[in-house]
């Protein structure tokens, strides 16, 4: 069988010169050009440059003459292995992802299931309500939450005080600081998951539920056997998107705790910022950033593996 035989029609064997092929696609390239230039200048070049930086000792003394930085091979990466603060940051970020992502998806799904039952105006009101935190500036939200969680005059502890509980110093002590940040992350982000789940739920063919009902399935069984399996691609999508976002945790601890107390809310992204922009250890910061990048790729890969199942993504 010839190679051409299995090509789809739109990938027909190219005829003619390179030029004629190029001119055929020229309009397309021209339309894509503005984006391509921005992508190259602001993403591609920095990505490649930071990879190169991560193998050098680039720091303060090299700012004026960039090529004076020493090539140090994998030194920056091996330093990661013994850097206590990096380990702490990695642990905090991992906890944020492992606890935060399932919670966000669960809340998003619960809200979507509830909204799916509701009808008319009520649904849109709640949909907007849940989605509002997603589109609000994260810094503004974090500042407000900082006040809400304030130990002395915060609303949360005032409310707890009404029922006779003396609330903890949420952001000021090691045991509750990270949990508070997770709570904020979940609250802020589950609205996005809700909207996506809602769309997916409305895309499920009602015939399936009717058939299940005829077979005598309970609502619980319908959820487990019909709804959830059909939502699998959606869950995969949200798990990947949410994990990638959560791995880059930055603004919440930056605004609310500054990474403290005792580094208990320091995230990897914050550590990159600190090393790179405050201490100007740009070579090392690049290595930390690449470690984070590798973690994101690995996690995404694992999620695809586990959640793809039979249906595919």
């Amino acid at each position: 069988m010839s190679d051409a035989a299995i090509r789809r029609p739109d990938q027909a064997v190219p005829h003619g010169t390179v030029w004629s092929r190029l001119s055929r696609h020229l309009t397309g390239w021209l339309f894509a050009l503005p984006w391509l230039i921005i992508f190259a200048v602001f993403l591609l070049i920095p990505i490649v440059a930071s990879l190169a930086l991560s193998f050098t000792s680039f720091g303060l003394g090299n700012l004026r003459d960039w090529f004076s930085a020493d090539f140090v091979g994998l030194d920056n990466y091996s330093k990661l292995l013994s850097d206590e603060r990096f380990h702490k940051a990695a642990r905090n970020t991992a906890v944020f992802v492992v606890v935060g992502v399932p919670l966000t998806i669960a809340f998003g799904l619960a809200a979507a299931l509830g909204l799916n039952q509701a009808i008319g105006k009520l649904q849109s009101v709640f949909r907007v309500g849940y989605y509002l935190p997603v589109v609000t500036s994260i810094v503004a939200i974090a500042v407000i939450w900082r006040y809400l969680l304030n130990a002395d005059f915060g609303l949360v502890n005032a409310a707890l005080g009404l029922v006779g509980i003396e609330g903890p110093n949420w952001l000021g002590q090691k045991s509750t600081a990270l949990a508070s940040i997770i709570a904020l992350g979940v609250w802020r982000n589950f609205g996005f998951d809700t909207v996506i789940f809602l769309a997916a739920l409305q895309g499920i063919n009602p015939v399936l539920y009717e058939a299940a009902k005829v077979d005598g399935a309970t609502p619980w069984a319908m959820f487990w056997r019909v709804t959830l399996p059909l939502l699998r691609p959606t869950i995969l999508f949200l798990a990947v998107i949410t994990s990638v976002g959560y791995l880059q945790l930055f603004e919440e601890p930056f605004v609310m705790t500054g990474g403290g107390p005792l580094d208990s809310t320091l995230s990897v992204a914050m550590y990159v910022y600190e090393q790179g922009f405050r201490f100007l250890n740009l070579g090392y910061a690049s290595a930390v950033a690449y470690a984070l990048f590798i973690a994101i790729v690995a996690l995404t890969f694992i999620q695809f593996r586990f959640l793809r199942g039979d249906e595919g993504a």
């Binding site: 303060l60 900082r146 990638v244 107390p261």
Partner: protein, 411 residues
């Protein structure tokens, strides 16, 4: 979370932006002896807004030189200066935070101060902020130092006088809490080197001598123990929320003592109003071996990339004249770094200001080494926090500070 950005690109973006960014810092040099041409000055915050006033007067007296002031917000100033250095687009003159001096000297972009500027006219602690490895890279422009603010009404209620020694300070904090009923005795941060280092200096210690870290000395351990005891005894809050302003706590009486600089006088007057009038005062630092305080403020530097160094130094020299320093105090309330400027006017007559003037004679700055920012934050603040609220002993904290600071300093 920035979902849309690749974090991996963060570090390199700086370098890239450095290539594109930077303000127009060019100037025309003449080099024919008589200073002339254009001089660009970067100044931060209030200084940036008001420096034009002095620049105008300078230009009236020196019609050949044109001074262009670019105001920069404090929160972006450090990044902007770093970017300027990386892109070789530095201004002729810049205001510079005293704790940044070591870092920028390390970049090799600062011009040494010429011999015809007499550096003995400045307060010693302020002058030292600009001396890196024996070379003076800048001049102090204005200074600030920290004193003890206390609620005099509560002190009276507690039966204490302004503390003169460490023991007094501890006793006063205890009395404020127990006898005067304040929530805390004093406000100290569990992780702020600027509040902690004065105790080390007061105890006759230091953190760096001859380029060697000296954290693991008995003086530092004792200072750590003393600092730690305020937390152990519940005399200060064990956490300071982000964005915390002690002024409100001071006015409410929950935080009846704290250490701060001159800016807090106007803050307390504005926010406390008539209600607090006559109910607070300031006092010199408590003494152990000495009563040393922290000195901060800003220096002025000339970049060696400047095409018009002569005119740049001419403007700097103008800003250092005692009467110009006094005028600057009247304009933006910045305390003069030049000692002789304190001989006249309000600076010589106001008792509060005189206290600051006196304290400035015994005030130190952190060592101007390139890695200070990292050592201060990653080592001193972090280990201090472990000692005050994290359960580590003073000995452990001092030892950890020594090890970590030495390894960062050696990089």
């Amino acid at each position: 979370m920035k979902r849309s950005t690749f974090l991996a690109a963060v570090a390199a973006t700086l370098v890239l932006l450095a290539g594109c960014g930077g303000d127009d810092g060019s100037s025309s040099g003449t080099g024919d002896g008589k200073a002339s041409g254009e001089v660009t000055v970067w100044a931060m915050g209030t200084e940036g807004e008001k420096l034009g006033v002095l620049a105008k007067e300078f230009m009236a007296a020196n019609p050949d030189i044109k001074v262009k002031v670019t105001p920069i917000a404090w929160d972006v100033a450090h990044d902007k200066l770093i970017t300027a250095v990386a892109g070789n687009k530095t201004p002729d003159i810049s205001q510079m935070g005293t704790t940044w001096m070591g870092e920028f000297a390390q970049t090799g972009s600062l011009e040494p101060v010429p011999d015809d500027i007499d550096t003995s006219q400045f307060f010693e602690g302020a002058r030292d902020t600009a001396v890196v490895d024996g070379t003076t890279y800048g001049v102090p422009w204005y200074v600030e130092t920290r004193l003890l603010y206390y609620r005099s009404d509560l002190a009276k209620k507690a039966g204490v006088t302004p503390p003169e020694t460490w023991e007094d300070l501890k006793a006063a904090a205890r009395a404020m809490k127990e006898k005067a009923g304040a929530k805390y005795g004093i406000s100290l941060a569990p992780n702020n080197w600027q509040e902690f280092l004065p105790f080390v200096w007061q105890n006759g210690g230091d953190v760096i001598e001859d380029n060697e870290m000296t954290f693991d000395t008995p003086e530092v351990v004792e200072a750590l123990d003393f600092y730690k005891s305020f937390f152990a005894d519940g005399l200060t809050a064990d956490s300071v929320p982000e964005g915390f302003d002690v002024t409100q706590g001071f006015i409410a009486g929950t935080h009846p003592m704290f250490f701060s600089g001159p800016w807090h006088m106007s803050l307390i007057e504005e926010q406390g109003g008539a209600k607090l009038k006559g109910k607070w005062d300031i006092a010199a630092m408590p003494e152990k071996e000495t009563g040393t305080s922290f000195v901060g403020g800003s220096d002025l530097v000339v970049f060696n990339g400047s095409g018009n160094k002569e005119a740049a130094w001419a403007f700097v020299k103008y800003l250092l004249k005692p009467d110009v320093q006094r005028k600057w105090y009247e304009t933006v309330s910045d305390l003069p770094a030049v000692q002789s400027a304190w001989d006249q006017g309000e600076l010589a007559s106001d008792p509060h200001l005189q206290l600051f003037g006196e304290q400035l004679k015994d005030a130190k700055s952190p060592p101007p080494i390139a890695k200070w920012e990292q050592i201060a934050s990653e080592v001193v603040n972090a280990e201090l926090e472990k000692a005050t609220v994290g359960g580590a002993s003073a000995e452990q904290a001092a030892k950890a500070m020594q090890e970590k600071a030495s390894s960062i300093g050696a990089e």
